[in-house]
């Protein structure tokens, strides 16, 4: 079995366990709202759902107090280690043509933390930028 760092080596117990093919992403499912009420916040809300076992991300930006639906993209989910099957994190990519947004997210103390790496492709001169924002889960 190939690995390039020590963390890629399964522990003995994990090797014998019959593993499901996917990480369970159900802890992410729901509607999440940005904790920051400032209008300049980058992502206003995120809806996360499962479709055929795949985590689907539907983020919304905000522009001048209007919500802008970014649409849906598939996410890849990650466990805390190679022997675990409960999702701890996910990543997804939005390609808007003029801009690519890479979402990296994890849940910590009940808060969804989303970091974004934003790369402009339109030659506008705007700096690529990074954000880190916090979201709380809405009821229902």
């Amino acid at each position: 079995m190939r690995y390039t760092s020590a963390t890629d080596i399964p522990e003995a117990a994990a090797e014998t366990e019959e593993a499901p093919s996917r990480v369970d992403a159900s802890p992410f499912v729901g509607m999440w709202s940005n904790t920051n009420e400032e209008p300049r916040k980058r992502i206003a809300a995120v809806r996360l759902k499962l479709r055929d076992g795949t985590l689907i991300v539907n983020a919304s930006g905000n522009i001048e107090h209007e919500v802008c639906d970014w649409g849906e993209v598939e996410a890849d989910v990650f466990a805390p280690d190679i022997g675990s099957h409960t999702a701890m994190s996910f990543q997804a990519i939005y390609d808007f043509g003029f801009l690519e947004s890479y979402l990296h997210a994890n849940i910590k103390h009940g808060t969804l933390v989303i970091a974004t790496c934003n790369k402009f492709k339109d030659g506008s001169g705007r700096s690529n930028y990074y954000t880190r924002e916090f979201f709380y889960q809405l009821e229902g």
């Binding site: 970014w70 849906e72 990650f78 190679i82 947004s101 339109d122 954000t131």
Partner: protein, 205 residues
């Protein structure tokens, strides 16, 4: 007039009065035009209700943006020719956890205005050199030139690894997203570790 030609003329007459998608079906029966899609590294997914493309047209006619954060706040600070200052990232970074099983050392260099990452994984008896990959720097806003974070991507064949790091209080906080592709039972996982800078410049490139 042959029947096939009549059918073709009928289709051509119809297409100017109908939506483009339906016209394509008429012109190329059996071939359904694809739905608008949002791209993902993990595949393409149809966008429900075509809302993404509709929003693009509504909100990005000239200097496109999808959120308030994409707009420059100060015209004076927005120098399109000035690049992000990479120097706070450049150097040798050592994992604060001495017995790490992940990456023990990172070397970040700047070459011709571009950023490159060389990661060394914990292996015995010597560290495993993952080779050099291009990295990308990010500021904290569209009109800032102070580096805040970096990212890189490496395909090692049996796994895809995405690096995402940000600077915080002198530390480089690095998260790696490890996605196995070799059909083993290993689960995709993330690893978050902390690095301190050993020297502002790498010893050798």
């Amino acid at each position: 007039m042959p029947l096939a030609q009549m059918v073709r003329q009928f289709r051509m007459a119809m297409v100017s009065e109908i939506p483009v998608g339906l016209a394509l079906i008429i012109l190329r029966p059996g071939r359904v035009p694809p739905l608008p899609r949002a791209e993902s590294r993990y595949g393409l997914l149809p966008v429900e209700g075509h809302n993404l493309l509709a929003r693009k047209e509504n909100y990005m006619p000239s200097n496109g943006y999808f959120r308030a954060g994409d707009q420059p706040t100060s015209r004076a600070d927005n120098n399109p020719r000035e690049n992000i200052d990479l120097s706070p990232l450049v150097g040798t970074w050592v994992n604060t956890k001495k017995d790490t099983g992940g990456f023990a050392k990172l070397i970040i260099i700047e070459r011709a205005g571009r950023l490159f990452l060389r990661a060394y994984a914990a292996c015995a008896p010597e560290l495993c050199d993952w080779g050099e990959v291009e990295a990308f720097a990010y500021s904290d806003s569209v009109d800032s030139h102070t580096v805040q974070a970096m990212s890189a991507f490496l395909d090692v064949g049996f796994a895809d690894v995405t690096f995402q790091g940000n600077l915080n209080l002198g530390l480089l906080v690095l998260v790696t997203f490890n996605h196995f592709k070799d059909n083993t039972e290993r689960t995709s996982y993330i690893c978050r570790e902390f690095y301190h800078r050993l020297s502002p410049s790498p010893p050798e490139v």
